[in-house]
């Protein structure tokens, strides 16, 4: 065959090969391509209060304005998993298939564990914003991280404060409807409370749904001795409904708990009963704090700061940014390795966060907040003496 024909043939064959292989070979990320973080968020449903896509977005806006990470902008792919564990897996897989560099998972162990399992083959880091359940990183220790402290830590702080305030008796309220927070947290609290000399008077089971707790109220009222305190892993709206119903029944009890109570939305729900609540949480936007600065800046950018989880979400993104920089790449496995080595990282809710050697459960300070006259007031800040084993 003639040279010209051979050249044409070669040309066309190469073109054809290129076209065919173009689908098989991934396009290499170019300079300037965004680093994408996936976020399987509880935008709706009972867990929505404890997640914050806005918090993540605001932090990403700030970081991109300061030049991004590794010279590339950060981008967020957020999806609503509707507080449903099954949908969480579906959404998680979707994000992994999109090729994200890391995933932020929903705020409970039963919704986050499946995503960590799906991400494990890629060694991709899975962080939660609002989850405090140590059961989550325990299930998949090499790639799961809580941004928040573990339930055992917060329960211990809350219980210690209660004991120090002179309270002696508690009734626990337990629910199996939304993961470990409803089951394990009350037990951690009881463990720590008993360690400090308190007594558990009884345990009462409740189911969320129609929010009629008159039977539970009656059960507690019939306990002998009557408990001074009620402790439960309450999430919104139960965090407001429980105090409301106990107060309606004329019962004189105080409520202790952890970050489930940290939501201003519960104030109108609880009404006057809100003043019975004390809880341990992630932080408080006091004057001059990094948290307040973050809130103020985001508000100026047009975001609405709903509650502490807004700050936590920002902190999650900040932790990821740190890991990406140390890893020097957007590769999920590299980021995961770098994240696991985090030591004394300066966050927004806490001045020093470490993951090194802690299998995904960070060491952090806690703040105790009490509701007084319908306002959130920080009353203490410490690390508890005794921490129950998970």
């Amino acid at each position: 065959m003639s040279a010209a024909l051979a050249r044409t043939l070669a040309c066309r064959t190469t073109l054809l090969a290129a076209l065919l292989s173009g689908t098989a070979v991934p396009v290499l990320a170019q300079e300037g391509d965004p680093i994408v973080i996936g976020y399987a968020a509880a935008m709706t449903g009972p867990l929505a209060t404890y997640d914050s896509v806005d918090g993540a977005r605001c932090m990403i806006d700030r970081l991109n304005e300061a030049g991004g990470v590794l010279g590339r902008p950060l981008a967020l792919e957020a999806r609503d998993m509707k507080s449903d564990a099954v949908l969480s897996s579906v959404v998680g897989q979707e994000l992994i298939d999109m090729g994200v560099s890391a995933i932020i998972a929903p705020p409970s162990d039963d919704t986050a564990i499946p995503i960590a399992a799906l991400a494990l083959p890629l060694n991709m880091a899975v962080m939660t914003v609002g989850s405090t359940q140590v059961q989550f990183p325990m299930a998949s220790p090499t790639n799961s991280y809580l941004t928040a402290f573990g339930d055992n830590l917060s329960a211990a702080a809350s219980a210690q404060y209660a004991a120090e305030q002179g309270h002696k008796t508690v009734a626990l309220m337990i629910s199996r409807d939304f993961g470990s927070y409803g089951i394990a947290l009350p037990e951690y609290w009881a463990d720590a409370f008993e360690h400090h000399g308190g007594t558990v008077v009884g345990r009462v089971n409740y189911n969320i749904g129609l929010s009629d707790y008159s039977a539970q109220v009656a059960e507690v009222a019939a306990m002998d001795p009557k408990p001074e305190l009620i402790v439960g892993g309450f999430i919104s709206p139960e965090a407001g409904v429980m105090p409301r119903q106990f107060a309606s029944a004329g019962m004189d009890v105080k409520f202790f708990g952890t970050d489930g109570f940290d939501d201003p939305n519960l104030l109108p729900i609880a009404g006057d009963a809100a003043d019975t609540i004390t809880f341990a949480t992630h932080g408080f936007p006091s004057e001059g704090s990094d948290l307040k600065a973050f809130y103020d800046d985001c508000t100026a950018r047009g975001y609405t700061v709903q509650n502490i989880f807004f700050g936590l979400a920002g902190e999650t993104v900040l932790l990821l940014k740190g890991a990406i920089e140390r890893a020097g790449s957007a590769d999920p496995a590299a980021i995961n390795a770098a994240l696991a080595e985090t030591e004394n990282f300066k966050g927004i809710t806490s001045g020093s966060i470490s993951y090194k050697g802690r299998a995904g459960v960070p060491s952090k300070e806690l703040t105790i907040v009490q509701i007084q006259d319908g306002a959130f007031v920080p009353v203490a800040k410490f690390v508890p003496d005794y921490i129950p084993a998970p």
């Binding site: 089971n205 189911n207 749904g209 129609l210 929010s211 009656a218 407001g240 939305n265 109108p268 729900i269």
Partner: protein
């Protein structure tokens, strides 16, 4: 101890009454139109958002609040009938159920998109949050009023169904719609009234639900309609007395289990309740008050 038992009996009655109200609303539509209206729960959510918005405009008068909640759910029910269910009126039972699910999802997401995803506080009548002392025992006003209101509502419904032409038409239409039309009664009118009644009952139930809960969120309608459906099935789908009986039994049984089960087993409350429901259905496949349909029976 007796005070505790008495208190729990009042609780049982109140919860049972609430389920009875919910079940009755569902049953009245089913008996006439052969439609399991799974969007019934959304009628309660609508009332809730009405109460939420009333908080924004500072409506304080409790009677106004109650009227608002009931009015909104009734209008919503009428709108549902006109917009969603009229066109599929003669379709199969499955079509009806699927349409109802679809309507339910649409309404839920309308609230998610246009109002809020998270629970919002609602304004409810203050007097319902009080305690009343009867015979030396203290009872929440809400429970007493709830039980009484349900009884009155049921009575009113009975009067309507027995003494008014439209009531007679509704009872007759449950078995034989075509012949009712032959009496000159307009089909549309009968169905509209059925939906209006179901909306009214949902609104009344909503007042009590929100007085307890104090918060509304887009997906909260699911649990009430599920309870209502189970109650209807227990009592016999299509039977109005069955719906009331099923609701009372389900509610009372739930409270009973709450009281009786030790803390370890308490988590199995729902599992036990539904197992018992299953057992009831094995013994009474048509429900407790449902008619046993023998093969070959000529249904009108």
């Amino acid at each position: 101890m007796t005070e505790y038992i008495l208190q729990q009996m009042v609780n049982a009655l109140a919860v049972g009454s609430e389920y009875a109200l919910l079940a009755l609303g569902l049953a009245i539509v089913y008996s006439i139109v052969n439609l399991v209206n799974f969007a019934h729960g959304e009628l309660i959510t609508v009332s809730g958002y009405a109460l939420f918005f009333s908080a924004a405009v500072w409506v304080q008068n409790p009677w106004l609040l109650i009227a608002l909640a009931v009015l909104c759910s009734t209008l919503a029910a009428a709108a549902l009938e006109r917009v969603a269910f009229r066109s599929i009126r003669n379709a199969s039972l499955n079509t009806g159920m699927l349409t109802a699910f679809g309507v339910s999802i649409i309404i839920q997401n309308v609230f998610v998109i246009f109002v809020a995803t998270r629970p919002r506080a609602v304004q409810t009548p203050a007097f319902l949050a009080e305690i009343v002392t009867i015979g030396g025992l203290r009872f929440p006003v809400l429970q007493v009023v709830e039980t009484l209101t349900t009884a009155v509502a049921i009575l009113a419904l009975v009067v309507l169904l027995r003494s008014t032409t439209i009531g007679l038409a509704m009872r007759a239409a449950a078995r034989d719609f075509t012949t009712v039309r032959l009496m000159g009664v307009r089909a549309n009118r009968v169905i509209q009234v059925a939906f209006l009644i179901s909306g009214l009952l949902a609104g009344i139930a909503a007042v009590f639900i929100f007085s307890r809960r104090g918060a509304v969120d887009p997906f909260m309608g699911f649990v009430p309609v599920l309870k209502a459906f189970v109650a209807c099935v227990i009592g016999g789908l299509g039977s109005l007395p069955g719906a009331v009986l099923g609701g009372l039994l389900l509610g009372m049984f739930e409270v009973f289990l709450q009281v009786v089960l030790p803390a370890d087993a308490a988590a199995y409350r729902d599992a036990i309740a539904f197992s018992v429901v299953g057992l009831v259905l094995v013994l009474y496949p048509q429900g407790l008050l449902g008619k046993r349909v023998e093969l070959g029976d000529k249904e009108a």
